[in-house]
Structures are given as C-alpha cells and as structure tokens.
C-alpha cells in the first residue's frame, strides 16, 4: 500500500484535531448536573472538581495506552500485541491484588509501584516466550498473548475469590472513569511525561523496529532500549489499571490506524498515535455517558465492543492485502 497523498493526509490531520477539540468540549459539558441551569460558582466547581479532571484523565490514559501499545509492538516486532494482549494489564492487576492483600494500608502510589513491578515481570516473560515463535506466523503472537493474559487473569480471579475480594477486582478489571475527581487522578500526569520521552526517542524506536542487528549496526544499545521500553509499557499500564482499571484495545488499534495514514517513521507519526489514543478513549467515554443518560456504561465495556469490531476489521483488511 502507498501512503495516502499529502492533501488527504493534511485534511485527515485537520479533521482529527477539530474532532478531538469537539470531543473535549463534549466531555466537559456532558454529565448528570446541567451546567447551564446551576449558578456560576457551582458550575465552576463541577467543572474544576469533576469534569475537567475526568477529561484530562481520559486524555492521559488514552494517549498513554496508545503509546504503550506502539512501544510493545515495536519491541515484539508484531503489530498485533498491546498491553491488554500480552499480559501487562493482567499482571498489573495481580500486583494491585498482591498489594491489597499483604499491605492493605498501601497508598495509591505504593500500589502503583507494586503493580508496575509485576507488570514489568509479566511483560518481560511474555517477550521472552514469544521469541520462540516463528516470525513467519504473525498471528501466533496475539493468540499466545490472549492465552497468556487469560491465564494470569484466571489466577488473579481465583486468588480474589479465595480472599473474598471479587468486588474489588471488578474495579480494576473493567475500566471506568466515573470515579475520577480532582485529587484522585494526578498520578496520570506521569503518562504525559512518558509520551514526551517516547517522542524524544522516536528515531531510536523506529530503528529498533528494524530489528536488533540494524539497531546495533547503527550504534544503538538495543538491550537498554528494550529495558527502557518495557519499563515505560509497565508504568503506563500499571498507572492506568490502578487509577481507572483495564481499558482494552486502545494500544492495539490506534498504532495500526496511524501506521496506515502516516507511516511508521515515529518522529512524524508518534504524536498522532498519542492524539488518536486520547481521541478514541474520549469518544468512547462520552458515548458511555450518553447512551443510558443519566446512567453510565463503563468505558471498558464500550471500548470492548467498539474495539473488538475495529480490531476484527484491521485483521480482515490485512488478510485481504496479503
């Protein structure tokens, strides 16, 4: 396939930015309390304490997960993995469960540290295991990842069931932004830092996608790149699971879509991956707030549905192109 002509790319870019701005406005205005009917200070309070933090949290999580997916795809050299497929998020959930069990008084930050460590271990094990898969069979890796994540998730469920913590578990397993308020999401700003870092190292990441030999030949310390990338993926996933719970598919779909439109030179395309992740997540969050208004459908459910459809389309399209 050829990259789309410049004019339509520019139009698509402008469209994306405008659409994103509209989504932000929608996210700030949609909610149970109608901002136009309450008086000024109350409206401002609602905006600052609830709506704005929620919108920011969605943007940070969406951008962070899309970048985590991109990094993971680069490290695994396979377009069909992301932190949800490959056990990262499930391992993070295991970490939170562990922290809750052995250290009940742990703060959210401390839980995140534990979750990051287990996510790191889970993802590193995944990447080690998939090295044995034949590179000629790209679909084996996501298949293996789904089973791998499923096994971890089953283990987590079993322990939670034994310890009578199943209700808690649901909070981490199905992402939901409805609990986000000022003071409860600020940890997520770390995602902005990591996205910026990823952009700083965009050229090195693109070279890493050419493989270990090409990276070494160009003087890149490949092992250190892999370690840094793993750490970023684990951190991004862990903070998401700790603050809002698992969110599927963003890391899988967005890098694939952007690759089609903007190519794989990450210096140019990485900002679009971040923006696309934020846009998709925000769109699904607003949808979840509107569909059963004034009730909410958790974003994990919405993205599970929308994401599955998009992922199937991506797979079918790729198959057609051979």
């Amino acid at each position: 396939m050829t990259i789309l002509p410049a004019v339509s790319v520019r139009a698509a870019a402008l469209g994306t930015v405008l659409f994103f701005a509209a989504l932000c406005a929608a996210s700030l205005s949609v909610g149970v309390s109608d901002l136009s009917t309450v008086d000024g200070t109350e409206a401002l309070d609602t905006l600052l304490i609830s709506r704005l933090p929620r919108t920011l949290a969605v943007i940070l999580v969406g951008a962070g997960l899309a970048i985590a997916g991109l990094i993971m795809q680069t490290l695994a050299r396979n377009r069909f993995v992301d932190p949800g497929i490959g056990g990262t998020e499930q391992s993070a959930a295991f970490g939170i469960l562990l922290a809750t069990l052995v250290w009940p008084a742990a703060s959210i930050l401390e839980k995140m540290v534990v979750a990051t460590l287990t996510a790191l271990a889970g993802t590193a094990a995944f990447l080690l295991l998939v090295r044995r898969l034949p590179p000629t069979q790209p679909y084996l890796m996501p298949l293996f990842g789904l089973i791998y994540g499923g096994v971890i998730s089953a283990g987590v469920t079993f322990i939670a069931w034994q310890m009578d913590l199943l209700q808690y578990l649901d909070i981490w397993m199905n992402g939901d932004f409805s609990g986000v308020l000022r003071g409860r999401y600020e940890l997520l700003w770390l995602a902005a830092l990591l996205v910026a870092l990823a952009w700083w190292f965009a050229d090195a990441l693109t070279i890493a996608s050419l493989g270990k030999d090409a990276s070494l030949g160009l003087g890149l310390d490949y092992e250190r790149m892999v370690q840094a990338g793993l750490a970023a993926v684990a951190l991004l996933s862990a903070m998401t699971v700790v603050v809002v719970g698992m969110i599927p598919f963003v890391g899988l779909i967005v890098p694939n879509l952007v690759s089609r439109l903007r190519g794989d030179n990450l210096r140019g395309s990485l900002p679009w991956v971040a923006l696309g992740g934020a846009g998709l997540t925000l769109g699904c969050d607003v949808l979840g707030r509107l569909l059963r208004y004034p009730y909410e459908i958790p974003i994990g459910t919405i993205l599970g549905t929308v994401g599955a459809a998009l992922a199937l389309w991506l797979l079918a399209e790729r198959h057609e192109r051979g």
């Binding site: 965009a202 996608s209 030999d213 030949g217 160009l218 030179n265 210096r267």
Partner: protein, 252 residues
C-alpha cells in the same frame, strides 16, 4: 585494517567458527566465499559486534570491537545483514536517512540530506525515494538497504549477500558501484558472495571458508583453482581463463 585473531564461536554447543585469524587491509574489496554453513555470516557478525566475542580478538583500525563504544564503531563500520524481514511503512528516503543516525542522532543536518541524496542517486533509487519499502520488489528493497549502509559513511562496509534478489543488471551494477566505492573513495568492502564468478571478476582478495575455518586466502587467481574449489564445494568445476580473466563453470 581489520585484524581477526583466534576467533572461535559456538552456538548452544555447536561450533561455528574455529580459531579464525585473518587480516584484511584497508582500501580493498574482499569477498567471503564458501558453502552454506561455512561461517561467513557469523564471521561478519562477530567483526561488526552483532555477536558477542567468545574468544580471540577483533580490531578495526586498532580499536577492539568488544570494548569500543558502539556509537563510535557505528561511525567507522557498517553492516548490512541478509533481509531483515522488515516490510513496514517507511519510505526509501526515510530508511536511507537512518544511515545518518550515528552522526546526527536523528536530527538531520543539511550535510546529512546531501549524503542521503547522493546515496539515493548512486543506487538508482531517486525515483523510488518516496515509495514505501513494503511496496518494493525484493531487489529494490535490497538496494535500499545497501544504500542505507553506504549512507552511514563509514570506512568499512560489511555486506552479507548484497546480491540477493538482484537481477543480472543490478547485480553487475552493485558490484561496479562497490568497486567504485573502493577505488575512488578508498573505502574497504567485505562482502559475502555466493556466485564465485562475481568474486573472480570484482574482488581484490578472496577468503574461502568451510566448516568454520579459513581454507584459503589471497588474490582471486590463487584461491580459485580446481583443487581448492573441489575442496570447498565437494565437486569438480572447470576453471577457464578467458581474455585474461578467471571464469568458473560450476554447472554441467
């Protein structure tokens, strides 16, 4: 000068290289020949520090490859491995531009851009510069990867089977280009070749390998003899001299 001293290599108990020692002078085109599994690619990998050194030593211009910072080596020596299997959405120009990474760390300067244009022109890729690698033929992609290695601007170019996928016209053009790179620019090219006639026609020096050892080493006419070739490949070939050139008939 590339100095290889007593290099042995094994992979999971299988020996690949046995006590290989070799000195390759600067400014020459050296061809590595030998049957499949002789250890030619492994030797290139060790010299280019893609494989960690298990025993022995390798030095490029006096710098040991296992102790010199990788970034510094990347400005002295480049390696192109056999098809990397990458078919992502990078344009030819972007790929060739990554050859400049050791110099500019991704922030291309005007000089970098000039070098990229030069490499594209040299390898007949200017018209393909904006094309996606995934849309190219195997031969075009091969040329793009060699152009990237050239664009790295190093004194030493190690190329693992750069004639893969090339038709006769482009294979000849590639060898002539490499010859030019050596003669006019004083670069050093070490290349793995399967077609011994290309080695006979273009190399200054041939290193013949078998079973992880160097069997013969010297100018083409000394190495490409009936006896040596039979020892290497296990069957008799006819070695002819036509117009003062060595031609090997290796098929019936």
């Amino acid at each position: 000068m590339i100095e290889i001293e007593g290099v042995s290599l094994s992979h999971r108990g299988t020996p690949i290289l046995h006590e290989v020692s070799l000195a390759l002078p600067k400014g020459e085109l050296t061809a590595l020949i030998g049957p499949n599994g002789a250890g030619k690619s492994s030797l290139l990998s060790v010299v280019a520090r893609l494989q960690p050194l298990q025993s022995g030593s390798v030095a490029v211009d006096g710098l040991p490859v296992d102790r010199t910072p990788s970034r510094e080596l990347a400005r002295m020596l480049t390696i192109m491995r056999q098809d990397t299997g990458f078919a992502g959405r990078l344009t030819v120009r972007e790929l060739v531009g990554f050859g400049r990474f050791p110099h500019s760390r991704g922030r291309l300067t005007d000089e970098d851009r000039e070098r990229i244009d030069e490499a594209l022109a040299l390898f007949d890729l200017t018209a393909l510069a904006g094309r996606d690698l995934g849309t190219l033929s195997g031969g075009q992609r091969q040329r793009a990867f060699v152009a990237m290695a050239f664009c790295q601007g190093t004194d030493y170019l190690l190329l693992d089977e750069p004639l893969n996928n090339l038709d006769m016209m482009y294979a000849r053009q590639m060898m002539r280009l490499l010859r030019k790179v050596v003669d006019r620019r004083g670069r050093t090219v070490v290349i793995v070749l399967h077609d011994i006639n290309y080695a006979a026609a273009y190399a200054d020096r041939i290193v013949a390998m078998k079973d992880g050892r160097i069997v013969a080493h010297g100018p083409p006419n000394d190495v490409l003899t009936v006896g040596r070739l039979e020892q290497l490949y296990g069957y008799r070939m006819q070695v002819h001299r036509i117009d003062g050139r060595t031609m090997i008939r290796h098929h019936d």
